[in-house]
């Protein structure tokens, strides 16, 4: 069963207490241990791999050396035969036989190391993929856990606040009212401003036309006061 199916089943169960964690601490610990183990396996396989690869390279080098040796000895056989030294030629031929056998052993070893290398590489790839998968699942478990706990905290807070007394629609309507109110206030402000601006304009015009008193008002007052005194 996939993890998400398990989580779904646990969440659907519904028999839980509010805020009760669906993820028990023990399974988180086991999960963590499994991840650590997988990581350990990968590390070990990587160390093994370098060792086996080194051995494979050594075997390959040995095969090469022996084959060069064989060619050299075949040349010697040719020379011995040219000298009509049949006995020596036979002896060298025997040596070639020994070299051949050794080359075969090294070749087999090399093939086996190569096999081992491929197996290790495959295993590292598979375990790495499994590890990534486990880590992803682990994050899923922890996220679910964290969401559950956060929800518990929110629910406690929410239940004690006044906001939960309202339905979603009521909340929305209140917010919309506030928005409308703000818009009304803004446009009222604009209208008022326009009116004030209008008055100012009119004042200016009337002043200019000499219908109402302009800046000379103070001087007029002073003149009147002087007249009184006088």
């Amino acid at each position: 069963m996939s993890l998400i199916t398990k989580i779904l089943t646990a969440l659907r169960g519904g028999a839980r207490e509010v805020g009760e964690s669906i993820v028990d601490k023990n399974s988180i610990r086991i999960f963590e241990q499994e991840i650590k183990d997988a990581q350990g396996q990968i590390d070990k396989a990587k160390r093994d791999l370098t060792e086996v690869m080194a051995k494979e390279m050594q075997a390959a080098r040995k095969v090469e050396n022996i084959q060069a040796d064989i060619i050299k000895h075949e040349d010697y056989v040719g020379k011995a035969l040219a000298d009509n030294n049949e006995t020596l030629a036979l002896e060298i031929a025997e040596k070639i036989g020994v070299l051949q056998a050794e080359a075969d052993i090294q070749q087999k070893a090399q093939a086996s190391f190569e096999n081992h290398t491929n197996r290790l590489k495959g295993m590292i790839k598979k375990t790495t993929k499994a590890l990534a998968d486990m880590e992803r699942q682990f994050i899923m478990v922890k996220t679910t856990d964290s969401v559950q706990k956060a929800t518990a905290a929110i629910t406690d807070n929410y239940a004690s606040g006044s906001s939960k007394l309202l339905t979603a629609k009521e909340s929305l309507d209140r917010i919309k009212e506030k928005q409308a109110d703000l818009e009304d206030r803004l446009s009222a402000g604009e209208i008022l401003q326009d009116e004030f601006d209008g008055t100012d304009d009119l004042d200016e015009k009337m002043k200019a036309a000499g219908i109402i008193e302009g800046d000379s008002k103070a001087q007029d007052i002073l003149a009147k006061l002087k007249a009184k005194q006088g």
């Binding site: 905290a153 929110i154 406690d156 807070n157 906001s163 009521e170 703000l182």
Partner: protein, 138 residues
């Protein structure tokens, strides 16, 4: 979690900044996992809750409870929400127990601007989705 209180302080300052046109308050809620309650001016009825885990910052708001759905409309609203889900920028719907929620999640490495942006978008999406689901609700 120390990081959360740092985030709370930085968010609170950002929320107070005049001229961002989106003032909000930050109230920490204690619990096993600490949560921040974000109360947006003039939208106090629908607060947003933020929690931070190792991987993600989760911003979530409660939409409505199952019992607020008009009887017989459960399937319709579920389908409608599932359809609307993908068109909603940065937010998604979910169900926690009997509570429909809307949420957005961010990487823990998100900047303060990313988080404030998320809060703004989420708040708008909350209002829009309740409006859109109005016909199914009591």
């Amino acid at each position: 979690m120390n990081e959360l209180s740092t985030l709370a302080n930085r968010l609170a300052e950002k929320g107070k900044e005049s001229g961002n046109g989106f003032p909000f308050e930050v109230n920490p809620i204690p619990g096993e996992v600490e949560v921040l309650q974000i109360v947006i001016e003039d939208r106090e009825e629908l607060p947003i809750f933020i929690s931070v885990s190792e991987e993600q910052i989760l911003c979530m708001s409660y939409l409505f409870k199952q019992d607020e759905i008009k009887s017989g409309k459960e399937n319709e609203i579920n389908k409608a929400m599932l359809i609307a889900n993908i068109s909603m920028p940065l937010s998604a719907f979910s169900l926690i127990d009997d509570q429909y929620v809307i949420y957005g999640s961010l990487s823990v490495n998100s900047s303060l601007d990313d988080i404030t942006h998320e809060i703004e978008i989420l708040s708008d999406n909350i209002l829009e989705s309740i409006e859109a689901m109005r016909e199914y609700l009591n």
